[in-house]
């Protein structure tokens, strides 16, 4: 994963300076490195590829500075995940694939749920930004 390290340490000009966002980038890089080999979950998971890491990095870079920082994870199909969590009933989980495929599901209270799939191009889809807001809404 040399290329991955290069991307992380390369100091891209648009990289936000805020500590919280830097921690998000570091977490993405750590997760991608940690899951770079097949079977990283002990059950035959697909590796997180450099393409997936790049897609997730670009997505994170495109988040508005005001957006709460998500936690990072990975799924057995090799997609990286971002989670915005307030409590088990107010949570948004987003998966990012190598081609910028976005799949998400949110719980917004005991009975309200949302799901969707989109492709990340240049900007974070507006629906997702609304969902992030809803997770943390009073």
């Amino acid at each position: 994963m040399e290329e991955l390290r290069d991307l992380r340490l390369g100091g891209e000009p648009s990289l936000p300076r805020k500590d919280e966002r830097d921690r998000l980038f570091q977490a993405l890089a750590s997760q991608a490195e940690d899951c770079a080999n097949e079977g990283w979950d002990g059950h035959g998971a697909m590796p997180v590829t450099l393409e997936t890491y790049r897609a997730a990095y670009r997505f994170a870079e495109s988040l508005p500075a005001s957006a709460p920082s998500p936690s990072v994870g990975a799924e057995p199909d090799g997609h990286l995940t971002l989670e915005w969590y307030r409590n088990p009933s107010r949570v948004l989980s987003l998966s990012i694939g190598p081609e910028g495929e976005l799949s998400y599901a949110a719980l917004l209270g005991e009975t309200s749920r949302r799901t969707g799939s989109e492709r990340f191009e240049q900007e974070v889809p507006r629906d997702l930004l609304h969902l992030i807001d809803e997770v943390f809404a009073a």
Binding site: G73, S93, S103, L107, G116, S117
Partner: protein, 134 residues
């Protein structure tokens, strides 16, 4: 060697364990993320039935999984079979030589967002237990 229950059908109220082999699958507040409940790669999810096992035997089963897969056992997420059944999934007994209490959760939808929704709902009802130190 743990006492297995073979192919006896899984009852709604049965407790099932999903062994947690990744630290980041548990949040700082001790709740479980949906990630360990995502099915793959045969669109199935492996679980271990509590039925007929005491705590020590259950942890032995988890240690066996971790050992076999060369991973670390951080704990287990316990859920009732009903949590899956409410989502129109089925829990089928599929005993393995090394884990006679093994079962698979099947009938997951093909759509990934729908899988994630189910994983969130199941994770919401899961209770995490850390691996005992001794």
């Amino acid at each position: 060697m743990i006492a297995g229950i073979g192919t006896k059908p899984v009852a709604d109220e049965e407790r099932l364990a999903r062994f947690i082999l990744r630290r980041e699958h548990v949040r700082a507040d001790g709740t479980v993320k949906p990630d360990p409940f995502m099915p793959y790669k045969w669109v199935e999810l492996s679980v271990t039935r509590h039925l007929g096992l005491d705590e020590r035997q259950l942890w032995d089963a988890g240690r066996g999984v971790a050992e076999e897969t060369k991973t670390t056992l951080y704990g287990r997420a316990d859920v009732e079979a009903a949590s899956f059944i409410r989502q129109r999934l089925r829990v089928l007994p599929r005993p393995l030589p090394q884990n006679p209490n093994h079962a698979d959760v099947v009938d997951w939808p093909a759509d990934k967002a729908a899988q994630k929704e189910i994983a969130l709902l199941v994770a919401r009802e899961a209770i995490f237990r850390s691996t005992p130190t001794s």
